[in-house]
């Protein structure tokens, strides 16, 4: 069944598969092992639910990949694949700032000015934190952000 699952993973966008495919395979195999011990009907039910879930979520991932809806990775360096020469703390600080900017834009575009003020403060703190992290790791030129 593991082989079938591996083949079904090809329904996902390549990036998703590369990042999470081996983990998904391992989780499926652990579940399959557990359900095999519970009897054939439980195992069959497990396999059916897994296959349906996989096909459905692969379709959702493909749609999101095509439209980029809900994905920040067009705008920020993703937490999933940090470049090897950038320390984790800097990546985390960059992501935090990007999330704050995103929330600030959302609040402004929806005329939620109380929230916008809050996110502006948060953004200032996040910028300062990023600057400290860049100094700590000797990045003289800040990484460009959206």
């Amino acid at each position: 069944m593991g082989a079938v699952f591996r083949v079904l993973l090809y329904l996902y966008p390549q990036r998703h598969r590369e990042l999470l495919g081996s983990e998904m395979q391992a989780v499926f195999e652990q579940g399959a092992q557990e359900h095999r011990l519970l009897g054939p009907s439980q195992y069959l039910r497990f396999v059916l639910l897994e296959v349906c879930g996989l096909v459905l979520h692969a379709a959702i991932a493909q749609f999101a990949n095509a439209t980029r809806r809900g994905y920040l990775e067009n705008h920020v360096r993703s937490t999933l694949a940090p470049a090897q020469d950038i320390p984790h703390e800097v990546i985390e600080a960059q992501n935090r700032l990007a999330v704050n900017i995103n929330q600030l834009s959302f609040a402004i575009s929806h005329h939620q000015f109380v929230q916008a003020r809050f996110y502006k403060n948060e953004e200032r703190k996040a910028r300062e934190h990023l600057r400290q992290m860049q100094e700590k790791y000797g990045f003289r030129d800040p990484q460009p952000l959206p």
Binding site: H16, L19, L20, S22, E23, M24, Q25, A26, V27, F28, Q30, G31, L49, E50, C52, G53, L54, V55, L56, H57, A58, I60, A61, G70, Y71, L72, E73, S78, T79, L80, H88, E92, N95, R96, A98, V99, Q103, F106, A107, H110, Q112, V114, Q115, F118
Partner: protein, 117 residues
Amino acid sequence: MRHVATRPAIEHPKALTEPVVLILMSLAAQPRHGYALIKDIEALSRHRVRLSTGTLYGALRRLLDEGWIERFEQEDTSRDKQAYRLTSEGRRQLEFELDRFRELSRAGFARLRLGEA
């Protein structure tokens, strides 16, 4: 004059889905890897919810993209067992969502009492 510090409300473009809330709740206590998340969510929901691998990783991917959780490598495990933990942003979002649930249930009970009276 007395100043009362209030936590500003977070407006979501849409409400969080049940799997997302359960994942955040599960990670609030401690970092976990994929299979441990499935088992913990099953226990947390009193065996009502068992996430499939596709559902779990769809939600994890979204949470990673939002910066609400992060992946980290556990020293003694392989890539297959990379663990996930809440970021400070994720913790804040969970707190707001739970506050929203509390308000909602308070309103629901008030309506029930109104109907009984």
